[in-house]
């Protein structure tokens, strides 16, 4: 079952007509001509669509919150900042079928009553930003966006905002600060963005993949979408297979699939490369948990799940890998990307990185073992935003699973 990748081969990302030929922008026409904004939000809510950026919050519920707020100005933002190591799904959507994202944004903006929309794109995605700019211009020419969309009284403007290389700006409130021209540091929540977001106005921030699902739901109905995948988190997901698997790359699969199937089924990963033996898999990028071989049968779903899908990357690590390289990789990443706003994260990630370097150089001290526990607890429980918790996730699992090897 393919929803997102289904027309990718037939679409020329630089030509809007190739998207229109695959019934593109029909959903936008449908909502503008036949649907009330409130009905659009209800339809998305009924579909059960959850945010694909990692948190898995029900998209329709978020839209309803912003739709109910009375405000002359509202904003709708597509989050295309992905910088999680191992994640590049949104980049691929943008370069294969940019209009799918744009149509999703326009439908969302209509549902909440936003006149101004942004695509917040990762500062490293220059080529993709250019593709999106061309796509926006073409959509404007066809009157899909701008003033008086398709002859109606609806005005929606769209702008691309390019980031400048900061992982934290994928966090929605840090993203808002960065658009406002401030340091990309997260804000205290509540108030949540749907009530007070960009410039204090109701704002929706949705991941690009989430929005790419929206045109399908509107065209085929919430009911049809809700029957795909798992009942608690319907739809499909782009999974990224990396590391020791035979077939690496991006694969669309229904939610509720297992890592076992993704790694070993010939449709997806097709097993491990010759001569490699499975050790563990990391699910969801550098901030993801480590899944041992015995737990590969866990369902990958959003919501209550022992192994959160996060952004959807699955990194397979084989027994020849050097765990200390991974420990240093995780600690180094979060140390570089910690924004510095709160002390537990700023200091915790720094000290963890120092210890990781000592472990790698085999010069760790007895006290380090104790300190690791201390730092991991502090990161998991006391940081201002989820980045600190993410920094501790893989380390905590590694300590539990491979404690002995780490200190050998």
């Amino acid at each position: 079952m393919k929803l997102i990748t289904r027309h990718w081969e037939k679409i020329n990302p630089l030509d809007i007509n190739s998207y229109i030929r695959q019934r593109g922008y029909e959903s936008l026409q449908k909502v503008i001509r036949d649907m009330d904004p409130a009905d659009v939000a209800v339809e998305i809510k009924n579909s059960g669509l959850r945010g694909r950026g990692g948190a898995g919050f029900p998209t329709g519920e978020k839209w309803e919150m912003a739709a109910k707020k009375k405000s002359r100005e509202k904003y709708f933002i597509c989050n295309l900042d992905e910088s999680e190591p191992g994640t590049y799904k949104d980049r691929v959507i943008a370069e294969k079928n940019p209009h799918q994202i744009i149509e999703g944004i326009l439908i969302g903006a209509y549902a909440i009553g936003a006149k101004k929309t942004f695509i917040y794109i990762n500062g490293n995605y220059k080529k993709q930003a250019d593709i999106l700019k061309i796509a926006i211009d073409q959509a404007r020419e066809k009157e899909f966006l701008g003033k008086g969309i398709l002859g109606s009284a609806v005005d929606i403007e769209m702008e691309i905002f390019e980031g400048a290389g900061a992982y934290i700006c994928g966090e929605e409130t840090a993203l808002l600060n960065s658009i406002e021209g401030q340091r990309g540091e997260p804000r205290l929540k509540p108030p949540f963005p749907p009530s007070e977001g960009l410039f204090g106005k109701p704002t929706i921030v949705n991941n690009a993949e989430t929005l790419a699902n929206v045109p399908y739901i509107i065209r085929h109905s919430a009911k049809e979408f809700s029957q795909i995948g798992s009942s608690t988190s319907p739809g499909t997901k782009l999974f990224l297979l990396e590391g020791a698997v035979k077939n690496k790359g991006i694969f669309e699969a229904p939610l509720g699939i297992t890592a076992q199937e993704l790694i070993y089924n010939s449709l997806y990963g097709n097993g491990l490369e010759a001569g490699k033996e499975f050790w563990f898999a990391q699910v969801g990028g550098a901030s993801g948990r480590l899944m041992p071989g015995g737990r590969l049968d866990q369902l990958l779903i959003y919501g209550e799940s022992e192994y959160p899908i996060g952004s959807g990357s699955i990194l397979v690590v084989d027994k020849n890998a050097n765990l200390k390289d991974f420990l240093l990789s995780w600690a180094g990443f979060f140390h570089r990307e910690s924004c510095g706003k709160c002390v537990p994260c700023r200091e915790g990630t720094f000290r963890l990185w120092e210890i990781a370097k000592r472990l790698k150089n085999k010069d760790f001290r007895e006290k380090d073992r104790e300190n690791i526990e201390d730092i991991l607890w502090t990161l998991s429980n006391t940081t201002f935003c989820p980045l600190g918790k993410f920094a501790a996730t893989a380390w905590t699992d590694a300590m539990k699973m491979f404690g002995k090897e780490i200190f050998s």
Partner: protein
């Protein structure tokens, strides 16, 4: 291009701060106090606000970089493709040490993910990205681009 010319390309509103800073970085190579002052004045913002943004983002530099910066991605997928062996090869070639500032001309650093995990290992020299770098091919890149 002079700072004033760059500034005039943008409407003087706070939302343009990051875009202005990126453009100055591109034209000027760095954003020092002098540039921050001009930006702050143009956008009617406190100097601290302009500097706090300029010093926050990876792609903006508040000091002129005199060394060639070589970066290797340390993300999981690149590690799986042996990015650490590439790093070791560079250490040997240039006689430098990873994350060590001692060499007068070069510096080798680890970097965060740039979203090209399907083309790793990824290496950067200043702003230029190299894909699928192997320990065998890194010599060529170093001799041609450094």
């Amino acid at each position: 291009m002079s700072i004033q010319k760059i500034l005039l390309k943008f409407e003087p509103k706070a939302e343009n701060l990051l875009a202005v800073l990126k453009e100055i970085q591109k034209e000027n190579g760095c954003i020092e106090k002098k540039e921050c002052e001009a930006v702050a004045q143009y956008l009617s913002l406190p100097l601290a606000r302009a500097f706090s943004a300029a010093s926050f983002f990876d792609q903006l530099k508040t000091k002129k970089e005199s060394k060639k910066i070589i970066k290797i991605c340390s993300g999981g997928p690149c590690l799986g493709e042996k990015s650490m062996e590439v790093a070791r090869q560079i250490e040997m070639l240039l006689k430098i040490e990873l994350e060590n500032d001692a060499h007068p001309k070069y510096k080798l650093e680890l970097m965060s993910c740039v979203g090209l995990c399907d083309r790793g290992p990824i290496m950067m020299i200043d702003d230029q990205i190299f894909e699928n770098v192997k320990p065998e091919t890194v010599d060529d890149i170093i001799s041609n681009y450094l």
